[in-house]
């Protein structure tokens, strides 16, 4: 603001004084006429006047009680210790938190992860379970069951006593094998990394799925068996991979790891992304995208991020 040209400052000052005079209720007819003349004198005057009106409008659009208690808050000094109240999304750390492998012998547990969190648990029978971001499972070892409530899990069962993963779209029996199951509102994707699993979809016959194969289960039954690369690192290694992926799909995936809101302009959807990104710093992923693609990251706070097409250099 200090760089503003002196006459621009003069114009702004004049506009501010006109507005204050008008609002004071003390303006005469003569004052109003003078104001009109001032506005007509120069485009810069009229522009400043319009800016002042727009400023008033910004305040007029706010819910007044909320805005007043926030903006006219008592000055608490700088060293505020903020209670992390109200489930304030604003204060959830963004880091990809990895809870250490829990040493406890888990027989029954309801486990869940927050957005951006990953968790690994050793079960009492030696099986190993990992939860991806924003996921929940109920573990019931006595009945050899794990229920995937929401999100994504992987399960490695070393012994030959099978564990059954229950989803809303069918069951997966796992023994001497390693599998990854991801569930959302419309379906469930099962990917086998090691060994083989038995699948029982809600509709249709049971089938066997082997290492390197994946399948989608939906309410109507199982889809086609597809091949995938078991060696490609994924969320279990804390990595997000993209291979010529449409940016829109990539961002929807990235969004599941970030608290707050991530938005982007529709015209960015079709850009292509290739790369391997570390999930422990999703801000950095966004920064990297801005370097390699024609977009810019508008980060008002780290919890409200918008991606825009990069402006053409004039």
């Amino acid at each position: 603001m200090n760089s503003a040209a002196p006459d621009a400052r003069q114009v702004v000052r004049a506009a501010a004084q006109w507005l204050a005079l008008l609002e004071s209720g003390g303006a005469t007819e003569q004052d109003r006429a003078n104001l009109q003349r001032w506005r007509d004198t120069s485009a810069s005057h009229e522009h400043a006047w319009q800016k002042a009106q727009a400023l008033r409008q910004r305040f007029a659009d706010l819910p007044s009680a909320l805005a007043l208690s926030s903006l006219d808050r008592p000055d608490p000094g700088r060293r505020v210790v903020l209670k992390r109240a109200l489930g304030a999304v604003a204060l959830v750390p963004t880091a990809w938190l990895i809870s250490r492998q829990l040493p406890l012998d888990v027989w029954r547990a309801d486990l869940h992860t927050a957005t951006g969190e990953r968790k690994q648990v050793q079960l009492a029978d030696g099986s190993s379970l990992q939860l991806n971001t924003a996921s929940a499972v109920d573990v019931d070892l006595p009945n050899r069951r794990v229920k995937l409530v929401e999100g994504e899990m992987s399960l490695k069962v070393s012994g030959n006593s099978p564990l059954t993963i229950q989803t809303r779209f069918g069951q997966v029996m796992v023994s001497q094998s390693e599998v990854c199951v991801r569930q959302d509102a419309v379906g469930c994707r099962v990917s086998v990394f090691n060994g083989a699993v038995q699948l029982q979809p809600l509709q249709g016959a049971a089938l066997t799925l082997r290492a390197g194969q994946q399948i989608n289960l939906q309410a109507a039954g199982a889809g086609e068996v597809q091949a995938f690369d078991v060696l490609q690192p994924g969320w279990r290694e804390g990595v997000l991979m993209a291979n010529n992926q449409p940016l829109g799909d990539f961002l929807r995936e990235l969004d599941t790891y970030r608290p707050g809101v991530l938005r982007w302009e529709p015209e960015l959807e079709a850009l292509r992304v290739t790369g391997s990104f570390r999930l422990d710093d999703t801000d950095r992923i966004l920064a990297l995208l801005a370097v390699s693609l024609p977009l810019e990251v508008q980060m008002r706070t780290r919890y409200w991020v918008t991606l825009l097409p990069r402006k053409k250099v004039v």
């Binding site: 209720g25 109200l86 880091a95 710093d281």
Partner: protein, 169 residues
């Protein structure tokens, strides 16, 4: 990642590698909290990435990082106190009046922008301005509340308008 991006990326990488630990340590001593310090040091580098400043041209990278870091630190405390006031105000609302999560975010964003806009105004000026804009009080009513003359309020209001318009200039 495309090849064209590599030079900037490399340089930032070096800057990050050489100075991040130092900046984070500086912030941690001031904030007494390793997580926040780490966040803020990341923000500082991100700010650098987003700015037009050419990283290769930085003569005194630490001085530059410290300047950006200090500004972010100051904003951080202001934002926190705004967030806190906002959350308490939200909590005090009757349930049916609480805005949706998306609206809550948008509103917080707007309030943060306005808070920054008003930053630097003397307390009495700021209050007079807010009462006028948000509560629709007349200059006379504000004058009574603040026990000053109406003339003073008119001066306050002009000062506040000028301040905000200059920030946006």
């Amino acid at each position: 990642m495309s090849d064209a991006a590599m030079p900037k990326e490399q340089t930032l990488h070096e800057l990050y590698r050489d100075h991040r630990g130092w900046l984070e340590g500086w912030l941690r001593r001031r904030m007494g909290n390793a997580c926040d310090a780490a966040d803020l040091s990341q923000d500082t580098f991100l700010r650098l990435l987003a700015s037009s400043q050419r990283i290769a041209d930085l003569q005194e990278p630490r001085a530059y990082l410290l300047t950006v870091g200090k500004r972010l630190l100051s904003n951080f405390y202001k934002r926190r106190s705004l967030e806190q006031a906002y959350l308490s105000a939200l909590a005090a609302l009757p349930e049916e009046c609480v805005p949706s999560p998306e609206q809550r975010w948008l509103l917080l964003e707007t309030l943060q922008a306005l808070d920054e806009l008003l930053d630097g105004l003397p307390r009495a000026v700021r209050r007079a301005f807010l009462w006028s804009q948000l509560e629709g009080l007349s200059y006379q009513q504000i004058a009574e509340r603040l026990s000053v003359s109406e003339r003073t309020i008119k001066r306050y209001m002009a000062q506040a308008y000028e301040h905000c318009l200059l920030v946006e200039l």
